[in-house]
Point group: C2
Chain length 162, copies 2
Amino acid sequence: MNKINRKLEYALIGLKHMRSKQPGELTTVKEIAATYGCPFEATSKVMQSLAAGGLVRSEQGAHGGYQLVRDLNRLPLYEVLEMVVGPVEIAKCLHQVDGGCELRGSCNVISPIENLNRKLIEFYRGLTVGELLEGRGFVAKPQSLELRDLAAHAGHELAAVE
Amino acid sequence: MNKINRKLEYALIGLKHMRSKQPGELTTVKEIAATYGCPFEATSKVMQSLAAGGLVRSEQGAHGGYQLVRDLNRLPLYEVLEMVVGPVEIAKCLHQVDGGCELRGSCNVISPIENLNRKLIEFYRGLTVGELLEGRGFVAKPQSLELRDLAAHAGHELAAVE
DNA sequence: TTTAATTACGACTAATTTGGTCGTAGTTAA
DNA sequence: TTAACTACGACCAAATTAGTCGTAATTAAA
Ligand code: SF4
Ligand code: SF4
């Protein structure tokens, strides 16, 4: 439940791998697939999406490969999501390319859903890939105490933070 | 892509419907299904999950039904999610009850994924159902979690602009 | 005490989405 | 020419999600 798309994982795996390369140094899909065990073709497609999105540059032919062309610290996760799985549209009635939802017209939560969609996009836009990749462990946020209170009030434990 | 679970929508539909009832007034699944066109059985199951989670109380038998027993303004969306689709675990390696992920061991993004998982949970915990349901159009400046919590602790309700 | 309206719930099927593979073509250095 | 790559559409397989069915339990009212 609540799983993210596998493509996003392959994208992050590749991005993290490429991040440690010298500028100009290329990375092949074969290399990524061999190093991390992810399926070649699937990973290849993901890299192609990233290339289409301008996040990486591809060089074809023998000794070809990919290289990062953007600063991951300034790259919102939302953009990666968009490149590999498309825009965040959490319900059928938002952008009804496929006919939309049959409940539309009687539905009472369209606005709330639009609301949530917008907030989620905000969330993903406010989170950089660099931040995600290097942040090991817990980052103390000014929100922590309040969250703790809220969670406690709701009768939940806070997840243990390493 | 990026769709949320349909169960969550049915939950929100039901919750929003019940919110306008008087205390003690019951709502039947039949009523919800008829009003909004959602499938009876599916909606029924969702309501049962909400009842199991203590969000609503059920009354059985003829003239039975459900009623809200918690203040939606203090209810993090995360709890509803948990009740209807289980805990937020965005990747297979986070809850290895089902064997986990085959990439584990060679994977270089486990920490980042754990990170994202935690941030998403924070996001859903910091968003109340009331907040979500109220805003029809745009909320110009979403009130910060800190302020909301201060208000809650001070015993004030959120301004329910309807 | 019967009936009708309701919740409760497990098992099942259908539909959709996701994940992964294959085949083939294009590009380029050696 | 060949080998090592990227590019990409079509396809198949697996997993998840969505919805249905059958049946039981509960309760108010006839
Ligand atoms: S919000 Fe209402 S109309 Fe839009 S998809 Fe969900 S149920 Fe259908
Ligand atoms: S983070 Fe790595 S190990 Fe965990 S599920 Fe994703 S790919 Fe598998």
